[in-house]
């Protein structure tokens, strides 16, 4: 499967920035400082379970809920990993 990482990153940025380009920029910096560079992922990127786990943790820390933005399959995949 592919594309989940990009979707998770986009969700984190969207939910935290609520449309503010400036906040979106700072969230991007925060993610890079945590070790994940959003620019390195696109919709074709493989669903690397290690990175998905990291993003799950970051989302929790950021107070972001993937519930409404991921498909049922993606949510199940997130639990398996």
């Amino acid at each position: 499967m592919a594309g989940k990482i990009k979707k998770m990153i986009d969700t984190i940025i969207e939910q935290r920035s609520k449309g503010s380009g400036i906040i979106a920029g700072t969230i991007k910096v925060k993610l890079i400082l945590k070790g994940i560079n959003p620019d390195n992922f696109n919709h074709q990127s493989n669903d690397n379970p290690l990175i998905i786990n990291q993003l799950d943790k970051f989302a929790k820390d950021f107070g972001v809920d993937f519930g409404s933005s991921l498909s049922e399959n993606e949510k199940r995949f997130s639990i398996w990993t």
Binding site: R16, S17, I23, K30, L33, K34, F62
Partner: protein
């Protein structure tokens, strides 16, 4: 006048505090921020500064050198007083025991206190209406964890510095409400009444050499391997030096985590065996770009001018200025020129052991600027 700066280079704190108080006079200060050489007794410094300014919010820290409008100083105390035309609301929180994991928990506790005071969840605070100052024990090695947690919990930006001790590397202090703390961080959340901005400036150009951290000890701020080679060997190859002489290149050639063409600088501190210890952490997998130092004076002047254009005017600057930049300026005989950049703007600052801006960085100046 809504902001006043003061400085004193008298020998003892018993003379310094009255000197500072005299310069600030009967100004109705809502908040007083001060930076003090580590040569002064910390408990007396905290107590006397609070006593001098009565009901004002008084906080500060020890330094590795001070900055005030027009000058870089040593063995002094500098202060900036703000009245209620500038500071709407402000709350100081002290986070203690930051060297262990209770430090990160302390951030949550501090933020709960902010939420209680400002009656608003930290995640809901508008970053355009609030700003934070973070003063963190510069010998704690805790800055990354604290800044990371702050960034998780709020969109409000915290700017600040790692607190110094005149290059003795023994103990650093933060001061708040008449008390002194070590192994601690001060967080101050401010709701200014005027526009404000943040500024991050460093003076480096990018070189083509890349160093990917392939093996690290994150918690020791140590890189074991770059590009799958012993870290010091890979770094020496990148700078074109022998391993034996490579430490002489640290200040001129740090590395940068490049984000949208802007470096978040990581400065090498020392070699341990074949490992390289940095002044801030490097995560495994991070691609770093070799940097080369440039013109601190020119770049800082341009950064201030651009901020002035953006904001219309600047009424005050708080400057968190890396000690490595100060040492470079001293080596080149340029501390006077650096001070002059701020001669027309009320400014205080100090030479830090690291700078805070979203995360923890080195060889940078981070500034809080008021319109």
């Amino acid at each position: 006048m809504n902001i006043i700066t003061a400085e004193s280079t008298k020998d003892i704190i018993e003379d310094i505090v009255p000197d500072i108080k005299l310069q600030i006079g009967d100004f109705d200060a809502k908040m007083v921020l001060f930076f003090a050489s580590a040569k002064f007794d910390p408990a007396q410094t905290a107590e006397k500064m609070q006593h001098a300014f009565g009901e004002s919010l008084v906080f500060g820290c020890s330094t590795a050198g001070e900055i005030v409008s027009g000058q870089m100083l040593k063995n002094s105390v500098v202060a900036m007083a703000f009245n209620s035309e500038i500071i709407g609301e402000a709350k100081i929180e002290v986070v203690e025991n930051i060297k262990d994991e209770s430090g990160v928990k302390g951030i949550d506790k501090a933020f709960a206190a902010f939420e209680n005071y400002f009656e608003m969840p930290m995640r809901a605070l508008d970053f355009q209406n609030y700003v934070g100052i973070a003063l963190i024990d510069g010998l704690s090695g805790a800055e990354e964890g604290l800044m990371d947690r702050i960034g998780d919990l709020t969109n409000v930006l915290f700017v600040g510095g790692s607190v110094g001790d005149d290059l003795k590397f023994e103990t650093t202090y933060v001061y708040a409400n008449g008390k002194v703390y070590t192994n601690a961080a001060l967080l101050v959340l401010i709701k200014p009444k005027v526009n404000f901005g943040l500024l991050k400036t460093q003076s480096f150009c990018q070189l083509p050499q890349k160093l990917v951290a392939t093996k690290v000890n994150e918690f020791e701020r140590t890189v074991i391997e770059f590009n799958n080679k012993p870290a010091v060997v890979a770094y020496a190859e990148a700078v074109g030096s022998s391993v034996e002489e490579v430490s002489s290149r640290f200040m001129v050639n740090p590395v940068g985590l490049m984000i949208d063409d802007e470096p978040y600088v990581r400065s090498p501190q020392q070699i341990k065996g074949n490992n390289m210890v940095f002044y801030c952490n490097v995560l495994e997998g991070m691609e770093l770009t070799l940097l080369e130092s440039g013109d601190i004076i020119g770049d800082t002047r341009v950064a201030i001018e651009e901020k002035q254009k953006e904001m219309g005017s600047i009424s005050a600057i708080i400057n968190f200025h890396c000690i490595l930049r100060t040492l470079e300026l001293e080596k080149k005989g340029l501390t006077g020129s650096y001070g002059e950049i701020f001669s027309d703007i009320p400014t205080i600052g100090f030479s830090t052991y690291g700078e805070e801006y979203i995360g923890h960085v080195n060889q940078t100046s981070t500034m809080l600027v008021f319109e």
